[in-house]
Structure formats: C-alpha cells, structure tokens
C-alpha cells in the first residue's frame, strides 16, 4: 500500500531499480537479493543498497528491519505468510488478504487464494476468475485505518 506522496524521495534511477526488483521477484525462483538487482541494472552493490533504503523510506518496498534484505515487494511477501496464492502453477505469499487478490491483479491472471478465517480458524479457499472471486459470501475486514497503515506495515 502507498498512502502518501513519498515519490519525492525517489529519483528516476531509484524507480528503475525498483522496477528491476519487481521484475526479478517474479522471474526468479527465489527472492532477489540486492546483489541480484545491482547486477541486473549495472549498479555497484553499495549504490543499490542505498537506493533500496531510499525506496523503503518511500514505501516502495519493505526491507527487513536493520538489514538489506527484502521483506515485501507489495503485494508480494518475501517471507511465508498465512495468505498463499497460486497462479499459473506457482505459489506466492501475500502480506495480507488485500495483497493476495493483488497478486492476481499484478500478474493479470486468474488464481487460487488460500487463507484462514481469524475467527473460526478454518481454511478459506477462493478462486479468482476474470477478476471476480468465486465465493461472494466471504468478507474482508481491515482493522487499521488508512491514516495508520504505514505506522507498522507488517502488523497492518
């Protein structure tokens, strides 16, 4: 999610690096490292590290606290979560239920979402076909108002 006009902190080279990060995220069979992304765009690793941190400051990506490792390339999660999405034979992890549908959206593809109802603990499976879920009885609950989404994005 992006709530504010953070783009002032990003320059065109940063955005190019961000776009390469996302491209590698879906092209590779693992989460890309900053070394991978630096090599892809022809940057020194130290410069790519600084750019990743500027992008994180601008909420364009999320890094693991205190590291140079990717945590989120929203809507994709770099770590396992309780929201899984299967698209074209590949499983992805999403950061939340919104992002799970966002993975189908970003990939412009149908998909199958697996999540868990926080109340009853039962698994929820929902298919997305032509941008529509196959079970309209489900609901989405957001506990954090938009003003606070980025206060703690992992919690949100």
């Amino acid at each position: 999610m992006a709530g504010r006009a953070y783009d002032a902190a990003m320059n065109d080279d940063d955005i190019r690096l961000r776009n390469a990060t996302y491209r590698l995220f879906v092209e590779m069979d693992r989460v890309p490292t900053v070394d991978d992304v630096a090599a892809a765009v022809g940057l020194q690793v130290d410069d790519a590290v600084l750019a990743w941190h500027r992008l994180a400051e601008a909420h364009a990506i999320v890094l693991e606290p205190g590291t140079d490792q990717l945590r989120m390339a929203n809507p994709f999660s770099a770590v396992p979560t309780s929201h899984r999405v299967r698209v074209a034979g590949r499983w992805w992890f999403a950061n939340c239920a919104w992002d799970a549908f966002g993975i189908c959206a970003a990939l412009h593809a149908d998909g199958r979402i697996e999540s868990t109802c926080p109340d009853c603990g039962e698994r929820i499976d929902v298919e997305v076909h032509d941008q529509q879920p196959d079970d309209p009885s489900l609901v989405f609950h957001c506990g954090v108002p938009a003003t606070s989404w980025w206060d703690d994005i992992v919690f949100t």
């Binding site: 999610m1 970003a106 529509q132 009885s137 489900l138 609950h141 506990g143 954090v144 108002p145 938009a146």
Partner: protein
C-alpha cells in the same frame, strides 16, 4: 487485513476490538485490481496521494476510515 467466512465471524472475532471496516470480497477484489494492477508494469511510476485516494473514493470507500494521510 484478513478474509472472514462472513460478517458474523467478523463480529465474533472483533468482540472488544474497536474500529475497523468490513467490505465484501467482491469489493476487495475490485480494490486489489485497481490498487495493484500496475505493480509489475515495466514503466511503473509511483502514484501520489490524490491518485491513491481517488481509487478508494471511486469504489465508494469514502468515510474517514479510508482517508489517506
């Protein structure tokens, strides 16, 4: 930000939790496509606040809960 079986499940889970917003999964899907659909575009550029707010507004998410900072 979670999926629930129904509004009854949300109500039971919330119990003493305050606030929050619940929408249909259909609206969530529409929101996700409007919000995330461009994220893998080769020429992606960041949206500004007004553009993000317009996505929410256009889907009827217009109360204070959905007001971006």
């Amino acid at each position: 930000m979670s999926l629930f079986r129904s509004e009854e499940h949300v109500d039971r889970w919330r119990s003493d939790r305050v606030g929050g917003a619940t929408v249909s999964v259909g609206l969530l899907c529409d929101l996700a496509h409007a919000w995330w659909g461009d994220r893998l575009d080769a020429a992606w550029r960041p949206r500004d606040r007004a553009q993000n707010q317009a996505i929410l507004d256009d889907l009827g998410l217009v109360d204070d809960f959905w007001r971006l900072p």
